[in-house]
């Protein structure tokens, strides 16, 4: 492994981190921490194995250890809000950001699986290795995450006619 190989992976790590955290600044912090960890542990990487999978596994660990603790409280507060409360008035509330907002509302575990499978196009087995969970867990998180997103998006769109009709 040399730094060229890692550099090549940075755009993908940044895309994933951005989608995971939603905030550009926090996402680049996560990428930075992941790269530092990878460089300090590069001797553990086996030449010829999948560098992308290894980097994503490191990012997952950094995320779990550092980021999630800080975010837990904020997320708990958001969980308590009814989904419809975030929409304001009438048709203006039909936002293009429905998908993004639904993604933010997912538990971290489900969001990670969804993003590895959809954005990174990892196989379910690769995702299971990156997250260090059994493949059955990957499938159930994927299923629950997608369904939850679907309901949130549908709920957001249906709430509008209910307000407009008088």
């Amino acid at each position: 492994m040399n730094s060229e190989d890692i550099l090549e992976q940075i755009p993908r790590l940044r895309r994933y981190a951005r989608a995971l955290l939603g905030d550009r600044y926090a996402a680049d912090d996560l990428v930075q921490d992941t790269l530092e960890r990878a460089l300090s542990k590069y001797h553990l990487w086996r030449a010829g194995s999948d560098l992308r999978a290894w980097l994503f596994a490191i990012m997952h660990n950094v995320f779990v250890n550092q980021v999630r603790g800080r975010r837990a409280e904020i997320e708990r507060t958001m969980e308590e809000l009814p989904d419809i409360a975030v929409r304001e008035t009438h048709s203006d509330a039909l936002e293009v950001a429905d998908v993004d907002r639904a993604l933010r509302a997912l538990p971290d575990e489900q969001r990670e699986v969804l993003l590895l499978v959809v954005l990174e196009e990892m196989s379910y087995e690769e995702a299971s290795r990156a997250l260090n969970v059994p493949i059955g867990t990957v499938m159930s998180r994927l299923s629950r995450g997608r369904e939850r997103m679907r309901r949130l998006i549908a709920g957001a769109r249906q709430s509008v006619p209910l307000q407009v009709v008088k």
Binding site: L7, Y25, V31, V96, V99, A102, R146
Partner: protein
């Protein structure tokens, strides 16, 4: 046919089934509209996620992220290392300043239009709020909300029929989205947004946002963006027609 399980539906959504199994799932869905709707919604999620985040792949990597292995254990060159570290840190802060700046600016017209396209164009049941059968009402309503006289361009000669339109909320206020459809089902969307003097008039510009191609331009305080999942040349022909009709 063997039973279709939940896992099969996800593998179908992700396009990882072999062709034979994929055909079985297609047959299974043909008799189950609710399940088919669920699969369609999941696929729309996939498209929406790519539209939201693929642009990050094309961003220049902040200089500070190009880290090299730390040299902190090499005492004889500690001074050099600290100079290097300072250089890296300054580079990182400059890069971060740039990042913060970019973060504050509103999303680009093309990017917002591409997201709106990716979110609404796959809709089967509710692609628009007001259909083309009420075109006059649609245009009056959207014109009133945007504060300008809008028109829905006629694209029939190019093979695209008006489906209808909807009102969206964009980064700069209300946005009108008109949707058009070709005989094969391919859809284009025209996104019209006020830009309130913060963007000068521009000629045609092109942007590739994930799989969505966008031609956009700014004309007298309004931004127009035509988005479609079609080839650039084909989209350009339609965009030219739209431009001619709206800016005579």
């Amino acid at each position: 046919m063997t039973q279709v399980l939940e896992d099969d539906l996800h593998a179908f959504v992700d396009g990882v089934l072999d062709p034979a199994r994929s055909a079985e799932v297609t047959a299974y869905l043909a008799d189950r509209p609710d399940e088919a709707e669920r699969v369609r919604a999941y696929r729309a999620q996939n498209a929406g996620l790519h539209a939201l985040f693929d642009h990050v792949l094309n961003e220049p990597v902040p200089a500070g992220l190009k880290v090299t292995r730390p040299a902190r254990r090499w005492r004889p060159i500690a001074l050099a290392a600290s100079v290097l570290f300072t250089g890296v840190a300054i580079g990182w802060m400059i890069a971060r300043g740039g990042v913060t700046q970019a973060y504050r600016t509103t999303p680009s017209l093309a990017h917002s239009a591409a997201i709106a396209h990716a979110v609404y164009s796959p809709e089967v049941r509710h692609p628009v709020e007001v259909g083309a059968d009420q075109e006059d009402h649609l245009v009056r309503w959207l014109s009133k909300r945007l504060g300008t006289q809008l028109r829905a361009p006629k694209l029939v000669p190019l093979g695209y029929d008006l489906v209808g339109g909807r009102l969206l909320s964009g980064p700069r206020g209300p946005v009108a989205q008109f949707m058009y459809q070709e005989a094969t089902g391919k859809r284009l969307t025209l996104y019209v947004s006020g830009v309130q003097g913060d963007m000068p008039d521009t000629a045609f510009r092109f942007s590739q946002e994930g799989s969505v191609s966008v031609f956009y331009w700014v004309d007298r305080d309004y931004g127009y963006a035509l988005s479609g999942d079609i080839k650039r040349e084909a989209l350009l022909a339609v965009a030219t027609a739209v431009y001619r009709q709206l800016s005579p």
